[in-house]
Amino acid sequence: MVTQQCLQFVHYSSSSTCVVVLASSWSHEIHTPLHCFSLYLQLYHSFTQLRLSNWNCLHLVMRVTWAKKIFNQFSAQCLIHKGNFTTSATFGPSNPKFPIISNNFTDELKFTNATSYGSIPIYRILGSATEDEAMANIELEEAKYIKMYKDMVTITVMDKILYESQRQGRISFYMTNSGEETVQIGTAAALSLNDVVYAQYREAGVLLWRGFKLKQFMNQCYGNCEDIGKGKQMPVHYGSKELNFVTISSPLTTQLPQAVGAAYALKLAHSDRCVAVYFGEGAASEGDAHAAFNFAATLDCPVIFICRNNGYAISTPAREQYKGDGIAAKGPAYGINTIRVDGNDIFAVHNATRAAKEWTLANGKPVLIEAMSYRIGHHSTSDDSSAYRSVSEIAEWEKLQPIARFRQCLEKYGLWSEEQEKEFVSSIKKQILSDFAAAEKNVKPNWKEVFTDVYYNMPDHIKKQSEAMAKHVDQYKEHYPVELYKQQ
């Protein structure tokens, strides 16, 4: 039957075509390479009969693929080349080569879904067989682990103070990090300062790790004249070029494709730097997330996607945010190396990020980390989470106490003690409060900063508006809170 088709085809095409490509699946006719060889001979015979032998430089190549185990199919290709002409045609039941995918065929009609694969496991160290091994190295990197612990504690203390200060109306807004300190510090400690960070808004620990001063946090929250951002953004929208931490923007997920572009530029510049980009599991639903994953994979960008899956996007629980095997499952679908980690396990988070960084730089390709955690605090000071989750649910997650567990590990190896704890907590509280007081006392930037940084140079129309407002404020001084702002 196949031979018949071939003959007909060769007959039909001989006058006009120089090349025949035959690709087929003949599971019923050809069972062994031998059969295939005999087909080859028959075909060759037909070609010769059709006076194809008169052609110059005639090559007949047959490639047989024996897909024994899975589909019991053959695919054969006859290629005839003449001169530098090439045309091709396919006939018979075929095994086309679709790009990228592995081209496995099946006659089983079956849908594939999240349950067709095992769920991506959650990498953890604490409580696992390798815990002791991991701990054994802890002393080698004592300074790092102590700083990690201190930074985690610092974030919790700072959160309490700033949250409460918003409650008292001292600052306009705040967002806490509670429950996610481990993810922040564990990942941050695996990056170098010259790596670039794009964050969402719940990553204060990352910035602290990189060296942002407590007073810089406070200055930003107050938007005073020492705030790097000149009071233009709401609290917690930190940024620092010096620390390679790109200024936070409220619109969700916009940072993802940007991070990918940054990674591309770093790679093109032959730097040994990568980009880490943070986002929530809610933000992962935005179109920009798709764009970023796909760009990173297709354009081979050294970027580490760090998804903080804390179970909620404001009031929306993760189960209403996505189906399937979470955010991690998207990684392999995009062709991205992926790992899911226990976000309450500092060692797991840290190890995973270290490995991710090594891999992304060695291969110039993206990595996705999904860190499983829980948002212990309210979404922000605008939110009262008791409206959509139970107190007992929160209590259940609070039991995990990742920071306390970390402290236990450090104490076990003699790297930390009760005394150190007491001393550190009281000194950090003192420092935060004094920085806070200083930030509160500080005036706002000069109000004319309204008009700066829109462009590199101020265009005339903005200059005119600035001048008009200056004149107006001068004339109506008593109606504007000028005394809170820095004088020229």
């Binding site: 949250y163 409460e164 639903s285 935005e286 939110d383 959509y388 007081a437 706002k444 109000w447 809170p481």
Partner: protein, 381 residues
């Protein structure tokens, strides 16, 4: 600052579970604060009276009026669904409180966090003849849906020769200044959409208008966007009719009669202008006519023209930036329709041509003193 007192309070904070819903948006923080922005409102709310013959009324703030309007719309139309980010538990501005319990999870539901998805999904529902009411959490976050609104919702009827449409789509989005919203919780993007033939765009100035416009937009056979000034959700309280009524789309309202200057605004700005009108009457003896435009697209050219033909002077005020703000369109149209009646150049008092700044909000807004000054200038021209 009383650091010691502050410290002692902090010591009492054991866990971050202090509950106080929505303290930044839209309610305002304690009034003792010396910091610009926080706790400061730049206007005095002027409630309107219920429309005549609209039946029984009840005191409602704006989020309650909207909630009431949503409930009535869903009651009247079984195909109606309401969806968006965080709407199931009542919405971050509480507009959908109790609706899921009442109408079920099939009709009131959270979507994944994706604005382009929300609007595209709504267009599809409307394509099938069902009623879609979509909430975008903040107008500042409507831009991922810009393509769906501008290229799809707006052009569907035109490109199919009237065969298909998505007139049953209504999109609601909180907009405007709130005292401390900064760049991304304060914008008024009405002009972007006013530049899009095929859309209808409205802005309520309080509870009565918010409910009436919602009911009208849901019934309107064209896709509508309602920009709701978020600062009014709690702060604005009126006697709102509890039954069904509509606020006509495309019709402006003269909220204060006057003879010397016409002041045009929409949303929160209307209240600033009413205050300004009282102020200039008292201080300068000038009589202002205040017009709430209500609908941005298609706007009521006749109402504004008639007023300006009478007063000879026009000031338009809006929170959005000056350049290509909707005031530009009004000014261009009115100079054409009222050229011979104008006593002075039309003035615009607006947000500056900068992003919306956090800590400088008092210096950014077209507040009453800037509007007052504009009136002074226009009468002295």
């Amino acid at each position: 600052m009383a650091t010691s007192k502050f410290c002692s309070r902090l010591r009492n904070v054991t866990r971050l579970s202090i509950t106080n819903s929505g303290s930044i948006f839209p309610a305002v923080a304690p009034s003792t604060i010396r910091h610009a922005g926080i706790g400061r409102t730049h206007f005095t709310y002027a409630p309107e009276s219920p429309p005549t013959n609209s039946g029984d009324t009840q005191e409602m703030n704006m989020f309650k009026a909207i909630n009431n309007g949503l409930a009535l719309s869903m009651e009247a139309d079984e195909s109606a669904v309401f969806f968006g980010e965080d709407v199931a538990f009542g919405g971050v501005f509480r507009c959908s409180m109790g609706l899921q319990e009442r109408f079920g999870k099939d009709r009131v539901f959270n979507t994944p966090l994706c604005e382009q998805g929300i609007v595209g999904f709504g267009i599809g529902i409307a394509n099938m003849g069902s009623t879609a009411i979509a909430e975008i959490q903040f107008a500042d976050y409507i831009f991922p849906a810009f393509d769906q609104l501008v290229n799809e919702a707006a052009k569907m009827r035109y490109r199919s020769g009237g065969d298909y449409d998505c007139g049953k789509l209504t999109v609601r989005a909180p907009c405007g200044a709130v005292g401390h919203g900064g760049l991304y919780h304060s914008q008024s993007p009405e002009a972007y959409f006013a530049h899009t033939p095929g859309l209808k765009v409205v802005v309520p100035r309080g509870p009565i208008k918010a409910k009436g416009l919602l009911m009208s937009c849901v019934a309107e056979p064209d896709p509508c966007i309602i920009f709701e000034p978020k600062i009014l959700y709690r702060a604005a309280v009126e006697e709102v009719p509890i039954g069904r009524y509509v606020t006509e789309i495309g019709k402006a309202e003269i909220v204060r009669k006057g003879t010397d200057v016409t002041l045009v605004g929409w949303g929160t700005q209307v209240h600033v202008l009413i205050e300004v009108a009282n102020l200039v009457e008292e201080k300068l003896g000038v009589s202002c006519e205040v017009i709430d435009l209500v609908t941005i697209l298609p706007w009521d050219v006749d109402a504004v023209s008639q007023s300006v033909k009478k007063t000879g002077r026009l000031i338009i005020a809006h929170e959005a930036p000056l350049t290509c703000g909707f005031g530009s369109e009004i000014a261009a149209t009115i100079q054409e329709s009222c050229f011979l009646s104008l006593e002075a150049p039309i003035q615009r008092v607006t947000g500056w041509d900068t992003p919306f700044p956090h800590i400088f909000e008092p210096f950014y807004l077209p507040d009453k003193w800037r509007c007052f000054d504009a009136v002074k200038n226009i009468v002295n021209y």
